[in-house]
Every structure is written in C-alpha cells, then in structure tokens.
Symmetry: C2
Subunit: 324 residues, 2 copies
C-alpha cells in the first residue's frame, strides 16, 4: 500500500481536462501497488485508475508497459487499457511525475486461493501469452538470472539475520541456476511478453469468475514458461508452504487448453520454478533487510521463498507438479 | 492515510449479503481517515464507503455518530448516511471490528482554499447546526477544556524538543483557558451538535460548488460557536500562518445568512479560537512526540498551531476576525 504523491485538486482538474472523460467527481488514493501512486478516479464518464509513476519505475519502460496493456485489451484480454488524451497520447506529467489514466477493472482478488481459481488463472495466462505474441515492443527481463547475483550482493553480508547459513545456501543455488539457465536458450524455448508478477493480488474475480489481470509493471520479454514458474510459486502453495498439486494440475490444464506446452517447456519447469523462487526471494530479502525502522508497511517474509526454493530443489521432474 | 484491517473477499461477500445493495464489484482500501479503515466499495447498486472502526474509536460512541449522520442526511444536509442492512441495523461486525456501510459522496477537497470556499463553508456549517438541533442523542466533547491539561501532561516533559519553553507557554495558556472557559457556560451560549473537525479535507467540492461534509467521528455536543473557532483555525490562515481576514469575513457572513450569531457568541470568538487552537496543538504535539521511528505517515507539525495560538492571544475582539 502506498500513496506517495499528493495531487492538488486544481492540478488534477487541469490534467483531466486533457482527456474526453468529463469532469472529476472524486479522486481517492488507493492502497494498491507498492511501486506507484494509484488513485481511483471517478469522472462524469465513469471510473478510472490514475497512476503516477514513482522513482522505482524506469520512465523509459513506460511506453512498453502501456503499449502492451493497450495491445492486450484491444485483443479482448480483460486488463486495464490506457485512456488517450485529446492529443492521442496516453502518457503525460502530473506533479512532476509521469502519469497515465487507465480504465477501471471491476473485481476483487481472492485472499484465499480456491482450487477452481488456478484453472481460470492458467487459461488467462495462456490467453495473455497468445495475445501478446505479435506485440512489437520488447523489454528484457531486468530481474532474470544476470541480475540475481548483483542483487544478492546487496544483502549477502546480512543474510544471516534472516537465517543462519542463508548466504551459503543462496550462493550454491546461484551457482546451479547460472550453470543451468543457458540450457533454456539452447533449447530455444518459446519467448514472448510475460506478466512476470501474476500473484493473486493481480488477478480479479467477480464472484467465482476470473474478471481481469492487472499491474503489468514487471511485464517483460522472456520465456513464456517462466510465467508458469512464477504462478506455481504464487498460487500453488498453501499458507503453510505445503505444495497443492491439485491446484498446479488445474493451472497447467487451464493453460494447455489455450496454448500447448512443448516437451522442453515441461522439462525445464523445475528450473523455472527455482529461478522464479530465487527472484522473489532476493527482492524480498533486500526489502526485508533495508526496511525503514518502524515503517508501517511490513515487507513480505523472505523465508516463505526459502521454503519454496527448497521444495523445488527436491523436485526431480515436472511430474511432481502434476505436469505430464 | 491508513488501512489497518485487511478484509478477506469471502468475509466481505458475506457482510455485503446482509444488505440490499447487490453483489460486490470492487473494494479498495483508500488513503483517507487516520482513525479508521476505509474502503471504496462498489456494488451492483452503486458506490459506498465501508468503514471498519479501529481501536482509537470508542465503540459506544458509534450510535451517536451514525445516528447524527442519518439525521442530518435525512434533513437534506449533503453528508454520508449509513446504509441499513435487511435487519434494519446500520452497525455490524466485520473481521472482528465494528463496521458500517455509508453512502458515497462525490467531490474532492480543496488542497488550496479559495476565498469563495469559506463563504460556502460558513453556510454549510450553519446548516448542519440548525439541522442538528433536534437530534435526540448527546455526546460530550471529550477533547474540550477538561481534557487539555491531562493531554498536555503526556507531552510536557518532551515539549522542549518541539520548541524551547513551549511547556511554560502552554501551561500559562491552559491557566487562562481554564479560568475563562466557564464564562461560556454562564453566558448560556447556544449548544448543539457540532462537527468539531471541519478541516478542508472533510469538505468536498464539485468544481467550485461545495458538495458535502464528511467524517463525523469527532462530532459532539458543545457550543455551536466552538465549531467556528475550529474553522477559523483550519480555513482562514494562509500556508505561512498569516491570517486572511477576507476568508474569515466570508465564512461568518455565510454562517449568519443561515443562523444569526448572538452578541455573546461573537464576543467569545477569540476565546473559541484560542481553545480550538489549543485542542489541535495538543493532539498534534502528542502525535509528533509519540510517532513511531521511520513511520511513513508524517504527523502534522504542532508548530503551525503554536503560531495560530499566538495570533489569537493578541486578538482583542471579534472585530479582528472581521466579525462585527
């Protein structure tokens, strides 16, 4: 949760006047998205999300993010789409920050993931992958294997504060990942535009029906099956970190109903799961060790991902995920 | 800004099912209200505010707050009104906290107060006072003169961290206020239900037109003119703490267009202004000295109210406020 930038009402009125969406009726900072300032904006024309991009987002990436959302929404994926101003532009500035207005997506995210949810998740993820195939821009994954060791270096000295010997454990895992990852390139795994952060809070439901995907601000160009690794970690473990193979089976079945997985994509699934576990472990570890004293936002526990990583290390083949 | 309680989606669905407002379409924590958890709730029937009352609110006061809002809205004051469940009750429990759904009020608050704003503010405040006259419940002002010295005692030892000699200055002012306040009772000043916290962020405008008053969670039964003292402090000083007599004149004119002020109410205005300055100074001082280290919410600066208090101490009569 975070609202970083306070928008004066007259600046807001002038900003909204650049669009054909009527007058502002209400604008409330919402406790969603950790990276940016988000407002639920109501105008005479309906509901929108106003986002001010804060310092952690690289401004040069915004055309990719906004373009991908527009491309996917245009093809019928239920996701926010940028609203264009009268000048045809989606991106402008507000309070000194880059800012955009996107359409509002109804739905709530499921705090407790149901077994039925993961099937729909898999279907929607494959749908996104297929619809994103012909999107012309590219953005390398800045949180993939090359970034992990430098990121780890910023937490290494203090990793023992989280767990004794954690530094050594991660060092060994990085050695493994760095040796194994190039295999994927050699295998010429299908690549495309992936979400890369499709956690439950980024998937909306209306009742029991999946109604949309949000938050494309980690989207990038990478192996499509890496997204499944992320979702395995984010959706298929129970709160006690036990693995729920039923949820995983349903997720893969939902995915393969839309896009078939190649044999190689299945075979690298344990590696994808380990790699994505490492990625979230490292950012959580960093945020945990660098949290401001007494901050009101509690960083997510990195230990959850240590446990998930250890699970994947013991997995011999994709069959352990119900994928065969 | 604060969202304290996280509401699971299934608990929310069960809660909303107690009302005749359709299914939940969306529910987002909003960064408004420091005391409670507030959500912008969208259902098939429209927009609402869902509030979970956190520990700083005394549960036994809730029937007064909700009853007053219902009473005022029923009489046509633009303010939120509690939505009743099928059982006829406005107040129930969610996630272990008392909770209510109130109607959504469109509008944005003015970050920069315009001169035209204060006239409308005065009119709306008088309207609230008149419409609240026959509300049958009462709630003594728990932040009036009797509470100020005990509140001060909790900050006294460390007041010098804010300003050298602040403790002595406030001590002398408390002596004055405690001696002068009983005069008001002897004068039999008109009392009634007051807002007691009508700062700019609690007053909404649509364009230039005042559209509503919100946040009645400090409302209480006290001298009506005390509310004008609060508004003098909250609306009639510029950001550099210079007093804007034009804004004050317009506020009083707007007020008196709806409800005439008695001679005594005008004469005690400097005392009301000093008293309300002390009330906000003391709570801000407390919050400032007791803020958690590194907290993301910056407490409001108590020095602003030291400067306002000193201004009022030099005021000889209500004429200095443009009130005559």
């Amino acid at each position: 949760m975070a609202v970083y930038t306070e928008v004066p009402d007259d600046d807001l009125a002038a900003f909204v006047a650049e669009y054909d969406i009527g007058r502002v009726l209400s604008c409330k900072g919402i406790a969603e998205g950790v990276e940016n300032s988000n407002y639920l904006l109501q105008t005479e024309n309906g509901n929108f999300i106003l986002t001010l991009y804060e310092r952690r987002v690289d401004e040069s990436d915004l055309p990719y993010f906004l373009g991908l959302m527009a491309h996917l929404a245009d093809k019928g994926l239920p996701c926010p789409t940028p609203t264009l101003g009268r000048d045809g532009r989606a991106l402008r500035r507000l309070c000194g920050r880059p800012a955009a207005i996107v359409t509002f997506l109804p739905g709530v995210w499921h705090r407790r993931v149901g077994s039925d949810d993961t099937g729909q998740l898999g279907t929607a993820l494959a749908d996104m992958h297929v619809k994103g195939m012909d999107f012309p821009l590219q953005r390398p994954n800045s949180l993939s294997v090359e970034s992990w060791r430098p990121l780890f270096a910023q937490s290494r000295e203090r990793a023992h504060e989280v767990l004794p010997d954690l530094a050594e454990e991660l060092e060994a895992e990085l050695d493994h990942l760095e040796a194994a990852w190039p295999t994927c390139a050699r295998l010429q795994l299908p690549t495309g535009n992936i979400h890369a952060d499709l956690f439950p809070d980024n998937v909306f439901f209306l009742g029991e029906r999946l109604s949309g995907l949000i938050d494309f601000y980690f989207a990038c160009t990478d192996f499509l099956c890496y997204d499944l690794g992320v979702c395995l970690n984010a959706w298929c473990f129970e709160p006690d970190t036990s693995f729920n193979i039923t949820k995983a089976r349903l997720m893969f079945a939902g995915y393969r109903g839309v896009r078939e997985l190649a044999r190689d994509e299945m075979e690298v699934m344990p590696l994808m799961a380990r790699g994505s576990a490492m990625r979230f472990l490292l950012t959580r570890l960093y945020d945990w060790l660098h949290r401001p004293e007494g901050a009101m936002v509690t960083p997510k526990d990195p230990l959850e991902y240590v446990r998930k990583l250890r699970f994947h290390q013991r997995v011999g083949s994709a069959a352990a995920y119900g994928l065969d």
